[in-house]
Subunit: 234 residues, 2 copies
Amino acid sequence: MSPAAVPVGLPTVTSPGKVPVTIRAMESSSAASGGSTRREATRQKLYEAAVTLIAEQGFSATTVDEIAERAGVAKGTVYYNFASKSVLFEELLRHGVGLLTASLREAAERTAREGGSKVDALDAMIRAGLVFIDRYPAFTQLYVAELWRTNRAWQSTLMVVRQQAVAVVEDVLREGVGNGEFSEEIDVPLTAAALVGMVLVAALDWQSFQPERSLDDVHAALSRLLQGRVSGCR
Amino acid sequence: MSPAAVPVGLPTVTSPGKVPVTIRAMESSSAASGGSTRREATRQKLYEAAVTLIAEQGFSATTVDEIAERAGVAKGTVYYNFASKSVLFEELLRHGVGLLTASLREAAERTAREGGSKVDALDAMIRAGLVFIDRYPAFTQLYVAELWRTNRAWQSTLMVVRQQAVAVVEDVLREGVGNGEFSEEIDVPLTAAALVGMVLVAALDWQSFQPERSLDDVHAALSRLLQGRVSGCR
DNA sequence: GTTTTTGCACTGACCAGTCAGTTCAAATTT
DNA sequence: AAATTTGAACTGACTGGTCAGTGCAAAAAC
């Protein structure tokens, strides 16, 4: 009876073998000196457990007991590592978006280094976005589900985090306009939002409803749309 | 302290003056003869209350007591009209998406009647989508937030309802391909999803973060993107 | 035309179950 | 020895759903 439609999960950030850096800059706790590795590993396990459960069921429907169980730790450990369920969730958000923006920025810089145009940069960022969503589908689901909600405790965290991500796209658009490569009439914030939405929704749809398609297929379709090769140019 | 960011609410379906049709075809109850007006009015009130609350807080975080209170009815009335909280939600989904698809289809047919091209049809549908989201922001929030979740009771309802909406866009794309107006190489389902996402996310971002912009601004930005007038054509 | 009956729509107190968060002594790891 | 984890018991608030009962307008009976 269980449909089991979407592949979810925010797998370990690190490669299977080592335990290392896990993307530092999770300012939350241990600021300067890296906190004990053991604690960090536990927190990582809790992130992974929480992200899939919350993506599937939503924040409120997910219990702390479930998170602890899936992470394979005791409930007390959750509260030893995080002040509350909400705080766990907020830190999870920051963690994930940190990964995403780093990836996007890296893609943009790489094309710049290789002398690519701004369209190339956007294209590379689209791909980077797709790779991210492919790797962390659960996080993406959860992010989209929460982003436009209001009256929630972590509202402010969410806005900060959103701005971080969108800003990367906006920057490239602005550079392209300054460049002469893009029309001066484009509306940078709106266009950035539209591009993000295009990637986000296409990717989630891909994961949920046509998982057999390859990342390249999706990328090609979005690329075409970006470059106006759907409706001919006039 | 209260940010009060997003304007929400799924206002009455009918114009202020009369009480009438409320968009028939809400197959739920009274099939043939219109059921009692009173009951229908109560259900409508419950829809309105539920849609804003669930958009703000999510399904699980919204209590039946809250819904009843905001609708100005007793809790028992909710259960007199709907079998359960989930059923109320499912019928709300069907109701809303029914409105959306009707609006999209109407826009497509109108351009066809007026001898417009398929790009014109897509453009008209973008506008229709924006108008819808502008009118029912809360419903849109809620739809996006729930669409890609898994393991939920209303999973199947959601898929049906999604397919209805996307199909309208896919149809126009396919006609455009058959037409010769669009490249034969476009991937219809993926492109449709991307277009929907473009509109959805741009509109929600507009509502949430730049509510001062006009619908025309947003429409213009999306139109430009659709027609590839952002990055020049080659 | 008046009285009585019917049954739909609605009410709100109530219940059984659930969950976030707490506490803490003992075990384990470093 | 210090830091971290365990695991189970407990609390107090909250929630979905129930149900006996109310109000009332139209139908039926007189």
